[in-house]
Subunit: 301 residues, 2 copies
Amino acid sequence: MTYDHKPKWLAADWGTSNLRLWAIGDDGAVLDMRTSDKGMGQLAPEEFETVFVDVAADWLDTANTVVACGMVGSRQGWVEAPYQTAPCAVCPSKMAKALVLRDGLSVHIIPGIRQTDPADVMRGEETQIAGYLAQNDGWDGVICLPGTHTKWVHVSAGEVVSFQTCMTGEMFALLSEESVLRHSIADSGWNEDTFLEALSLTLSRPERMAGHLFSLRAAQLIHNTDAQTLRARLSGLLIGAELASTKPYWLGQNVALIGAEAVSQPYLAGLAAQGIDVVRADATDMTLAGIKAAHALLETG
Amino acid sequence: MTYDHKPKWLAADWGTSNLRLWAIGDDGAVLDMRTSDKGMGQLAPEEFETVFVDVAADWLDTANTVVACGMVGSRQGWVEAPYQTAPCAVCPSKMAKALVLRDGLSVHIIPGIRQTDPADVMRGEETQIAGYLAQNDGWDGVICLPGTHTKWVHVSAGEVVSFQTCMTGEMFALLSEESVLRHSIADSGWNEDTFLEALSLTLSRPERMAGHLFSLRAAQLIHNTDAQTLRARLSGLLIGAELASTKPYWLGQNVALIGAEAVSQPYLAGLAAQGIDVVRADATDMTLAGIKAAHALLETG
């Protein structure tokens, strides 16, 4: 493959399950993208370099700098990029001491952010937030990043003020795939009315949450409720409980949501039903924008 | 093996994971007990008879009646014993039409109980409740049966009035063994103060539940909180959320708890901290007493 413009530096989003690597040109444009399923979860620290060099390959002929975000910077990653502690600047002023590889290639890893009380951590989301602020200068409000572990982040004056993680995505997967409910929950399908009704139930009466779950199984046994409806009901119960828990974050706030479309949709619908108007941005776009902002900081020293 | 007294009938507790079979003598005394790991979960309907005859073996020389409870009576069991619908008498007045096997052996299966709204079901617990009432004539109150799926059952005037199931035991297993929290939660160990503190947190502020879970992982990463403490905290958070959900059941009520010691202890401690005095009975004893009460009904026609 040939490029009109040679890669000048590389952007990496290296998470638990996979690696995405972009070749960036002189003018900051993305020239190409490559992926690998060699995520942090399956690599020992000494294996990262080999995987990286394999994927980057010919890009290393001209690119001599890498800026990476995600679990690659965790204690079990390539090299630990110690957390910043919130409240802290959104765009990390210090990045992990660069690793210097063969031929003077240097790798910079964007640190995650931790919060002392209540204890919480993020790695990767801080980069998406930096990307959002890079594109929306001076923006204040709350950013929701839905996913396996959804983050709610209060951003003000260019700082991450506080944040809260909810394991809603992981709970949905465990309950619908591993628990007794797996017999009653469809793999796909949806019922929007059921979703909103269930969400309203646990948002308005969160104390009843624990009693609602087994009822999904019983509804199928007793009422033959279909598995798609029960899928939407489980999602609604869990997101309703999450919205109850994160109410101080979103109520009356300016909310931006960064995520892929499928995972974002239920949150958008749920928040809209509470009268919250949400701006959505794409997760990959924000990751790239955040890595570019971090790279720009390197350039300016 | 020889018996001073020959088995007259057999009592069976046949659940999802195993079978317990007791030989009962002429005078109602337990002569012996046998177990098998051939639970309902791994058997097709046509396989139950072979397993049963294998385990009962020589007991069938003199015993010609079997009374069974548990998932053996579910749609996927030996033969379906259709649910009674609450409110209904605690001691089932009708048992599933007996299966008649070789040599005139007859098998009676105690039906479970269902509730229409909110949808809920039990199979097995109704027998323990019948056992408790058989030993505590005229008892009114709430019976808690902790386990994978904990049941809270309002009993009045010899009837199951209403009940609620919470998947707390299954949630604890999934979160501590399958989720991201598995890295931070010990397999055993306890810290009673931590447990009670966490329980009080979700009982008094149930809307915050969703925000507390990931914090367990973060507490280990940031504060090096030990895995035994986090085990107690997870249990406290989940049981606190369950107590919030079941408050109409236990608050100001006469509460009896039927369960094995290990699973009962956190509930006893949690309820005691709310000023609720609880009487405890052993689950196996109550199962046997309930099967005997059902057998007595057969005898009197």
